[in-house]
Amino acid sequence: MQVTVEIYRQDAETGASRFDTFIREVDPKDRVLDVMMEIKDQDDGSIAFRKSCGHGVCGSDAMMINGINRLACQTLIQDLKGSLIRIEPLKGLKVLRDLIVDMDPFLASLQKVTPYFIPKTTAPVREQKQSIAERQIFDDTTKCIMCGACTSSCPSYWSNGEYLGPATFVKAHRFIFDSRDGGDAERIEALDDRDGLWRCHSIFNCTDACPRDIKITQAISELKRYIVARR
């Protein structure tokens, strides 16, 4: 089938932007990333975008495809319904060049909730057991690959870059609801803030965008309830 691919281009120095259009013959089962790689190989080598694993694991190639954030390596042409493919960089983050955005603010926000395991005791003398039920509570949020699709789909984040954003809440959820973790206090301090959880208006864009199908809005509401109950 024939598709028209429109790719957002932005000059790194001048910031001037435009859309470049390419017409290609593709297999409906091709992934958007395949088509982009082919265009880069054969038509225009100067197109800049991130990708690494090619299999939905590394989270490098989140971008806005036909109006929704997705991973180019996980999106099939046939999923897009129609023959027009419009590829744009993630919103809410500064574009450095073409489809490459500055992920630093996004990663800095993750840091605020200490996104790593903090043991309850300083030196555990034996293995820390966890039941299947205890693990189930945060199982969903362990799947995050930090691609940024959720945070950059969030209108609250577009209007305020200081807002921690859904990805940060997913990370916080993963550790706060871990029965072995003891780092609640500092995480909650960051979450229970004017740029924290309470700016979430349950818009569900993050849940729709997540390539790992994490129920993000649900996780956020669990955090809200947890924090309110602690007061």
Partner: protein
């Protein structure tokens, strides 16, 4: 342009109706102040409120309040219960359906009332 889903549309409508209702409140207080100037002023204001423009406005106001209130209830339910989060699609449909019924039935009754 990011695709506008029903959830995102609801958020936008919630904002728009919210600000409209605040606007109405200010206008309403101003109208009341006008009315309190005496019987003549009272009658004049009531005559203005009977014009088609204001009557359409009243029906729209009812629609805005119905949506804003019901959508607010949906959001609160989602914040407080796990169940509402899981059934959020269903709750959205209920919100729009109820708001529609309230706006149409209430709007009709207001329109035929003299």
């Amino acid at each position: 342009m990011y695709r506008v889903s029903v959830e995102m549309l609801s958020w936008l409508l919630h904002k728009i109706t919210g600000f409209s209702i605040i606007g109405f409140l200010i206008f309403h207080i101003w109208g009341m102040a006008q009315m309190s100037q005496g019987p003549d002023a009272f009658n004049r204001v009531i005559e203005t409120y009977k014009t088609p423009l204001f009557r359409v406005g009243e029906v729209l106001l009812l629609a805005a309040i119905a949506f804003h209130g019901l959508n607010g209830m949906r959001l609160i339910l989602g914040e407080f219960t796990h169940w509402a989060m899981q059934k959020h699609k269903l709750l959205l449909i209920i919100t729009y359906a109820l708001a529609f019924v309230v706006a149409v039935v209430g709007g009709y009754l207001m329109w035929v009332a003299e």
